[in-house]
Amino acid sequence: MNKTVTINISGIIFHIEEEAFEKLSKYLNTIKGYFSNTDGGNEIMGDIEARIAEMLQTKTSAVKQVVLMGDVDSVIETMGRPEEFAGDQQQDNTYQQQQTHTHQANNSAKKRIFRDPDHKAVAGVCSGIAAYFDVDVVWIRLAMFLLIFFAGVSIWVYIILWIVIPEAKTTADKLAMRGEKIDINNISKTVMDEAEQVKKRIEKYGNDFKNRDFSQPRNAIEKIANFIRNFFILLGKLFARLIGLILLIFGVMFMLVLLSTIFGFSIIGANTEFNDWINLFFLERSHYTVGIIGITLFFGVPILMMIYGGVKLLFKIHYTNRWLNLSAGLVWLSGFVIALFIGITTGKDFGNGGKIKEQVQLIQHDTLYLTLNNNKELMNKLNIQDDEYHTNRGRIRINNRRSDYMIGLNGNSKFIAGRSSLNIVPSLTSDFELYIIKEARGEDKRSATERAKKIDYKTIQQGNTISFDDLFTVAENEKFRLQEVHILLKVPRGKVIHLDKNLEHFISDIENVTNTFDGDMINRRWIMNKEGLTCIDCEGITQNEDDLTEPPPAPPVPPINSSVNTKDADIKIDKDGIKIQSKEGNVNINEQGIQINTKENTFNE
């Protein structure tokens, strides 16, 4: 006992054994495959099916109702294997085309893109494209050549296309490569044909639906489902092409950006300060080069794959090169690892901070005048112009750009210079104390400290004036590791400092009782008292000029409890308070508060 299937060939119903059905269906599908690329393929199929139906009819009768395996075999034998009669189909077509020019349009194969090995200069990419778009190959080659000058775009594009586009090896490939000329007429014709086909199919399904066998409703539904599926497949194909185009456009754009960035970096690196920074930043010069290669691969490979995928989708190239994907992945990964390795190696050298604190011995005065030193020798080495330095009052500019670090030249050796800063805090002793704090980063604390020791910074005391260098320098050829110098001046209570105008950008957030900003602290004198730094000659706090010229009469002085007389000042302490008198001015501290009078005041204001 065998199961049978009911089938319909050319409108004739047959009962056929299941196995025989499978064989027949496979056979018909193979033929269909052979003619799928041929215009009129459906028609040929229809003719063949009609003939098969006729043959099968002769093999069945009222007595023998079922089509058996042997019947199918004999039909296939009579009809022949598709490779026996369909193989040279495309060749026949062109032969025909050459013979009858008047009717050439209908039956040429669908156009596909191939590399043309017969007209190649390198790999036949240009000639293939020219064949596809039906233009003279000269123009394509010219465009490719010109694009070389846009950061070599076309070289990359060419290589990708070389990989992506298969070579036209067989005659069929070569014919498909030339294919039909693409113009408006052809496109509209193709669309019309396709629409006609769809219309026919719909009508067919409609008829099938009307005449459907109600015992087999599944069949009709399946057909409708099939139709819907085909519709979406078509839609999907269009969508894939669109995506391909977008990928291609963006891929080429990203490629341009990447190439011009690398190109730009190599130009900058060739002849400017940037080059020095590379040498001082990386442990070795080669690390930079390797790092750039790593980053290029890391970004470049996905971009290349984007273009690759775009071209594949756009030109409907289905073959996949698994080795290519695999090696692209490996190259990308190695780019990532290289970039990561360089990043970690370089970053590690910044890992730990080290600090040393040096005290500068000072000759003590009641008032210290703080100013910025114009270190001409250093400015020369840094190639900073005298006027540049002065007009900007300590704000160093190079090419109108403020920078915290710069590179100087001492003979043939490069060195780093950086901006230092000054902070002023109360002293716990009765002396002015000056500290220079040097910081640097290194692989570990010890190497960082070693590096900090290689920082050079100078202050000069002349009488009651201390001049600070604006910049510190790092030993020659020493790497850049975020070296910093902070200067700390500790002011004892009761002592005065004066900040010169040129210190505006040198001092950093000095705490004071009135919360005055750094910019307003300059060009004034400040005394350290119990609360902190207090401005002596600021507006608002300052007494007016009358007070200065005629100080208020002091209350009668009772016997003195304590008195110190020095060369610079007299200090008296008694029940009325503390009274200090000096050449520069007077300070009275009593129940009414603090009174400060200075001679300097009148000169400065």
Binding site: G11, D39, I44, D47, I48, A86, H103
Partner: protein, 123 residues
């Protein structure tokens, strides 16, 4: 020696088969057009006519040929209902087809004469 002879034999055989196939294919077009010039026919009839000529090894060869000739405008067709089976596609020679057949017949005659002459001269 035996081996090499064998190889050359098989090669010769393959070439012979290929040439014969090509010859048959070329002549088949002429035969189909000739059959249709005597009256309209549907594929099965054409095959009946060709049977015994050894021109058609497998029937499948005929259908692509018919479609191609139809597409190039040499043939046209009409549907006719059949009492016993599926509707039949009756092919018919068009005017262009008739003209083309005439040209083909002339060149065929010339070809046959030329070939015969060459063969007999060389023999």
């Amino acid at each position: 020696m035996i081996n090499s002879e064998n190889t050359s034999n098989t090669q010769g055989g393959a070439e012979k088969a290929g040439a014969q196939t090509q010859m048959r294919k070329g002549v088949l077009e002429l035969c189909v057009l000739s059959i249709l010039s005597k009256g309209d026919a549907y594929p099965t009839q054409i095959i009946e006519n060709l049977k015994g000529t050894k021109l058609v090894v497998v029937e499948g060869t005929l259908y692509p040929l018919l479609t191609r000739l139809k597409n190039t405008g040499l043939l046209a067709y009409r549907w006719e209902e059949s009492t016993s089976g599926p509707p039949r596609k009756y092919y018919k020679l068009t005017q262009i087809g008739e003209q083309y057949l005439k040209e083909l017949q002339t060149s065929w005659t010339e070809l046959v004469e030329a070939v015969n002459k060459t063969i007999s001269n060389n023999n």
